[in-house]
Amino acid sequence: MEKNQQSRRAFIQSLGVLAIGFSMSGTACSRSEKQQADPSAPEIRTRELDMEEIDSWLVIREDGRVTIMTGKMELGQGITTAIAQVAAEELNMNMSLIDVHLAETGYTPDEGYTAGSRSIETSAMSVRRAAASAREYLLEMASQELSTPKIALTLEDGKISGQGKSTAIYTLLNGKYFETKISSDAPLYANSERKIVGRSVARMDIKSMVTGKSHFIHDLRFPDMVHARIVRPPAQAAKLTSVATQAISKLPGLAKFIRIGSLVAVIAEDEYQTIKLAKAVSHHLTWDYQKALPANRSLMQHIRSLPTDSKIDEKSEAWSDSTIANSPVRHRAAYFKPYIMHAANGPSCGIARYEDGKLWVWTHSQGVYPLRGALVDLLGLAEEHIHVKGVPGSGCYGHNGADDVAAEAALLAMEFPGRHVRLQWMREEENAWEPYGTAMVLEVEAGLDSQGRIKGWKYDLWSDDHGVRPGGDADNLMPAWYIEKGHGEAKSGFRGGATRNSEPYYTIPQLHLQSHIFRGPLRRSSLRGLGAYANVFAIESFMDELAEKANIDPIDFRIRHLNDERAIACLKQLANQIRSIKKQNQQGIGIGFARYKNQAAYCAVAAHVRVDQQTNKVEVIKLWAVVDAGEVINPDGLKNQIEGGMVQSISWGLMEEVNFDDTQVTNLNWDSYPILRFQEAPAIHIDVIDHPHEVPLGAGEAAQGPATAALVNAVYQATGIRVRQLPVIKALKHSALGLKLAEL
C-alpha cells in the first residue's frame, strides 16, 4: 500500500506536466531505473489498467481537481469537453476543476481507435459510470468518516458536507486508489439532475486555439530537438537503386543522411534547412519503378474490370429473381464515387526519441495502443519499451498519415538516438501518400408495385476495403514497405467498411445485397463515414429517382417506407423547415436521409442549390439538417459536428477527386485538389431532437451521406440532370459538353 501511495502521489504531481512529457510505464519497467526522455517526464504508474476499475478512468488530485483518463483522442470533435461534461455532472463539480488526459499507453485505458463516431457511446459512457461510482463510493466513505448518514451528505466541487461536518474527496482517499470496480447500480445524475449535460458548454480548447497556446503536436518543442524530412520516391512501388553518397555528404548543414532500404531521410538542426536538404538529396538518388497506375481510362470501368472477392451480404427469404422483372415500375441505375482525400489542413507530424533501448513517440494517431503494437512489429522492440502519447493534430477525418509519420519518426529516431526527432510531412507528401477514401461503384435495381411501394431491391457494390489500419501489423504502416526488412504490402482491411449503410434503412420486402471487393490502384483506408458516404449517396439518389417514377413527393415516398418513428420525425421536421422556401428559377431543393450504420444517429438533410445553366456553376445556398442522436451531451458541439460533416460532404460531392498519371497521384496541392472555400460555403440550419432518456448515438459521421445525396437531388431539381458520377461539377461540365458518361 505504501508503494502505491507513493507512486500515486508522484503520478498525481506529475499530471500537470503530462502535456509535454511522459515516461515509460508498465510493470516491466523498474521504477528505480532512469526512465525519462526529458526532464519533465512524470513518474510511472505502477498499476495495471483494468477497464472495469474506477481508477482507470478517474484520478482525484491533491489540489482537489479530478483528472479523467480517456483512451480516445481529440480530433477536433470536442470529445474532451463532452467527457468533462459527463464527469462533472456525476461528480457535481464545476467543469473548470476537471482535466481530461487523452490517449497515452500505460496511463489511459486501451480504447482501440477513436473512430466510427463511437467516442460518446463508449468512452464518455464509461467515464460517466466511473464518475457516478466514484461519487457513491466517496459518499459512503464520508458517511463512515464523519459518522453521518450518507443521505444527509452532499458532494459539491470536491467537498462532501452535511450536518455541519465536511471533508474533501482527496482527504478521504488519502492518496490511495479507489481499488474498486465500477458499479452498475450507481444512480446517474445525468438522468435526474442534468445540470451540465445537455447544455452547450463552450470548448475551452478553442480558447487555446484562438490565442495560439500550444495545442497541436506541431507545437511541441523539446530541448535539442532536430528536424527530419523524408525524400520520397517518384512512385509508390519503387526501389532505391543508387545513391550519390559523396555528393550528399558535402551538402551543408546535414546532421545525418539516413537510408534504410529504400527509405531515405535527412536530419538537420534547423527545419528550413532540412527542407532544402531533402530537395537537394532527391537529385542524388536513382529509383527503379514501374508506370503501374491505370491512367487515362475511366476509373469506373477499371474498377468493374478488376478481380473481386464477392459475397452476398443479404438475401431476403422471400427473394425472387422475378419480383423486379414483373413489377409494373422498374428502375436501374449505377453510381460512382471517386477516390477522395482526407486532405487535412495541417500535414501529418510525428516526434520520436530513442535512447538506451527505449522509444518515446508523440503522435496524432487515432489509436495509441494499436500504433504501439504495429511499432513492436516494425521495430522489433518489446512493447514495454515503447511509449506512445497522443497529442491533437490537424483534423484527421479518418485514417490519414498520422500513423505513418509516427512510424517514420520512430525509425529515424532509432538511427539518431538521444535526440527528439520531429518529422512533419510537406503538403505534397500529405496529398500523394495518405491512404484515400476508396473509389466505389454502386448499382441498384428496384421494382415498385402499382401503389408506389418498393417490392424488390437489388444492390451491388464495388469497393476496395476500408480501415487498413496499422493495429499491430507493420505491413499497414507505409514506411514498412520501403525499409526492406521483410514487411510486405498493406494487408486487407475492413470489408464491413464497404458495406456500411449498404442496406437501406427502409422497409423493403425483398432485398438482395452483394458486395464485390477489389484491390484498387491507389492506397486506401478509412475516410469519415467509410462506405456509408457512397452507399447513402446511391440509395438516396435512387430513392428520389423512384419517387419521381412513382410520382410521389420524395419525403412522403421515404416516410411510407419507414417504420421507425424517430426516422419519420426527422423527415417530418425537415419537411417543415423547407416547406416555405421559395425556389427561384434555376434553383432546386433536394433531400437525403440515413441512420448512420443503421444504428447510430439519424440525420435528414436538405440542400437548396442554384445552378447557373450558362456556366454550370453550382451555388449551395443553404443546408438544413434534422438530427436525432439520442441523448445529447453538448448540443452546440453536436451541431458543430453536423455542420462540418455537411460542408465536408458537399465539398467531396461537388469538386473532389484524386487524379493520377501512370506513376503517382497528381493533385499535390490545393490548386490541383480544390476543396470548398468561404465564398462557396452555404448557410446552415440544424435542428437537434434531444432524447435525454435514450442512449447517446455517435453523430460525427452521420451527415456525410445524406448531405451529398441532398446536393445531387437538388441539382437534379434545378437542372434536370441526374448526376450519378461524382464529383458534381465535373459531371455537369461533361453533361454540358454533351459527353456521354461511362455506361454500365
Partner: protein, 154 residues
C-alpha cells in the same frame, strides 16, 4: 550564410540569426517559439500560416526574413498579450465556437483582423472574399463568417 536581423514581432525587438531567405513561418515558429502561424501548404494556398505585416494579413510560409525590414510583425499571440483581454476577433471566434480541430484558426483570425482594420463594417460578401484565401477542412465556415459578421454589425 547566416546573417543577423533585427525585426519587430508582437511589439518586441528580436534579434534573429538565420539564412536571409528563411521564410518567416520558420522564424516565428522555431526561432521565436510562437504557435500561431501553422505550416499548411508552404505554397500560399491555405492561409494557415498568416501573420500581419504592418496590419496586412500575409502568408508567412514563403515570406523571406530579409523582406521584413522595419515592418511590424504581429502573430496571433500578439493580438492579446498575456493576462489581457482577448482581441475582439479572438473573443468572437471563441463565442461562436468557430473551430473544430482549430488548425485553420490562426489564419482565419489574422485575415479577419486585417479586414476589420481596413474596413470596420464589411458585408458578408466582403468577409467571404477576404477569407477565400483560407482553407478550413472541418467545415466551420458558417461559424467563422458569423463571428466576423457579429463584429461588423456592432
Amino acid at each position: 550564410m547566416e546573417n543577423v536581423f533585427k525585426i519587430l514581432v508582437n511589439g518586441k525587438d528580436c534579434q534573429i540569426k538565420a539564412d536571409p531567405e528563411t521564410p518567416m513561418l520558420y522564424i516565428l515558429r522555431n526561432n521565436l517559439t510562437l504557435n500561431g502561424p501553422k505550416f499548411g501548404c508552404g505554397l500560399v494556398q491555405c492561409g494557415a500560416c498568416m501573420m500581419l505585416i504592418d496590419g496586412v494579413a500575409v502568408p508567412s510560409c514563403t515570406y523571406p526574413l530579409q523582406n521584413v525590414g522595419q515592418s511590424e510583425v504581429t502573430t496571433l499571440e500578439g493580438l492579446s498579450q498575456e493576462g489581457e483581454q482577448l482581441h475582439p476577433v479572438q473573443q468572437s471566434f471563441f463565442e461562436e465556437q468557430a473551430a473544430q480541430c482549430g488548425y485553420c484558426t490562426n489564419g482565419l483570425i489574422m485575415a479577419s483582423v486585417a479586414l476589420l482594420r481596413r474596413k470596420s463594417n464589411p458585408s458578408e460578401t466582403e468577409i467571404r472574399a477576404e477569407l477565400q484565401r483560407n482553407i478550413c477542412r472541418c467545415g466551420i465556415h458558417a461559424r467563422a463568417i458569423r463571428a466576423v459578421k457579429k463584429l461588423a454589425d456592432r
